[in-house]
Symmetry: C2
Amino acid sequence: MRWVRYEAAEKVSYGILEGDEVEEVSGSPFDTYTRTGVRRPLDSVKLLIPVVPPTFYAAGLNYVDHLKVADPGLGLSVGDVPTRPNIGYRANNALIAHGEPIVVPKDATEKVQYEGELVVVIGKRAKNLSKEDALSCVLGYTMGNDVSERTWQASDGTMWRSKNTDTFKPMGPWIDTEADPTKMRTEVRLNGKRVSEFDTTNMVFGIATYISAMTRYLTLYPGDVIWMGTDGATDNMKPGDVVEIEITGLGVLRNPVVAGE
Amino acid sequence: MRWVRYEAAEKVSYGILEGDEVEEVSGSPFDTYTRTGVRRPLDSVKLLIPVVPPTFYAAGLNYVDHLKVADPGLGLSVGDVPTRPNIGYRANNALIAHGEPIVVPKDATEKVQYEGELVVVIGKRAKNLSKEDALSCVLGYTMGNDVSERTWQASDGTMWRSKNTDTFKPMGPWIDTEADPTKMRTEVRLNGKRVSEFDTTNMVFGIATYISAMTRYLTLYPGDVIWMGTDGATDNMKPGDVVEIEITGLGVLRNPVVAGE
C-alpha cells in the first residue's frame, strides 16, 4: 500500500494510491482511518511531505564508502566509521515535498550536494524493542535527499545551516508499506544522468540495529522518521539542476534546484 | 500573562493563569483563542509541557563559566567558546512537565547532571529578522532542565542518549509573556539547597543574536522553542533527589529524580 499526503480542494488529507488515482481517507495511517470513496487523479493534487515527524532522526555516517569519498574539507576518514549506532537529528523547517524547489542561499558556496537516503517511517509507539522485533513498529518507507552545504558543514559547530537550511530536506513522494528494505538499490540522478548508485542495504548498522539501540533509551512515536544515511560520492548541484533519488520499490523523489533571493 | 497547558476532565487545554486559578481558553496562544469562563484551581489540573515544539532548538555552549567548569571528561576548555551562534537540537521524546519524574536508566553512570536554562518560546512565523526586530516573534519564556549523562556525552558521537533519553528534558511550568529577559537570574536547587546561580543574561550570544542568525537560513514557527544554555557548575543527581530551576519572573520548575527499571 502507498500512502500519499496531499492538498486538494483546500484540504490536507491522507490518501491511498492505486494506479494513477488517490482515494481520500478520513484519519491517517498513524491512527485509524476509513476510505471515503473520493478519488482524484494523482497529478491533480498537490503532494505534501508524507508526514510531519514529531522527531526527525538521521544516521550520520552509515555507509563505509561515503567516508572514503566524503569531502576532504570535512576531515572524515575510514577511521571515523562509527562503532555504535549513534543517531542524530535534522529539523522540520527544512522539509519540502516531491517537486518543490531546493533553494540555495545567496551566500552558500558551490558545495551544495545531494545525499540520497532511505527513510524509515515509524507507525507505532515503541520502547525497548529487541533487534528481532524492531521492524514491528515500522509503517513503511520513503526517500530523503539530505542536501548539505559542505563548507558550512566543515566550519560550523553544528549542522544547523549546512543541513537544515529551509528546503534542504526533500522527503517523499509517498510512504510504501510493502517495499522490502533487504532488497533495495539507491540511484541518484542529476539532470537525468546517474551520478551515484549503491546497495541501500550496505549499511554499517541496519534498520533493526538502530531501532533496537534507540528504543533502549527513547520512545519512538507514530510519524517519527529515521533517515538511514548515504553511500558513495556526492556532487555539487547548482541552480537550474534537477535532482532525482530512486530506491527500489519507492518511486522517484524529484526536486529542482533554484537560486535564493 | 501566563499560559498554562494542562489536562482536566480528560481534555488537553490551554488556559490563562490568574492567581491560583486557570481559565480555560478555546484555541491556543499560537493562534486565535477565546476565554471560556471555565475556571479551575491550578492545583486541581495536571500540568503538561507548555508546548509541543515543531522544532526543539538548543544553544550548546553559551556561557563562558560553564566551559571553565564543565566536566573534564568532556574535554572542553575556554578555547571552545563559540565564535558564531551555531544552534543545536534536542528531541521531543525527552520532554516532561513540571512535577514529572526524571528517570535515570539502569546503565547510566553517576554523572547524571542538571542544567538550568532559559527557554524562549516562538509565537509567530519568522524569517530574516534583523537583530533589532528579532524579539518580535517571541511569545514568552519558560524554563528547561537540560539533564545530561556526562559519560555518554563524552563517549557517543552525538548527544542522542546523553541528552535525549526519555524524561531528560523537563520544561515548564508555564509560558510567561511579560518576564524581562534582560533582568533574570537563574538558580538551581538540589533537595532545597542552592547548587548553582548565575546571571541569565550573561550569554556569549543573546536571544536576539541567535534569532537573527538562525532566521537568515531557517524559518521559525509558532511553538518552536530555543533553550539558551547554562552557566556555572553542574552536579550529579541521584534517585531520590528533587531538582528545582528558578528564573526571575518565571516561577519554579521542580522534578523528582527516580531510578529506572
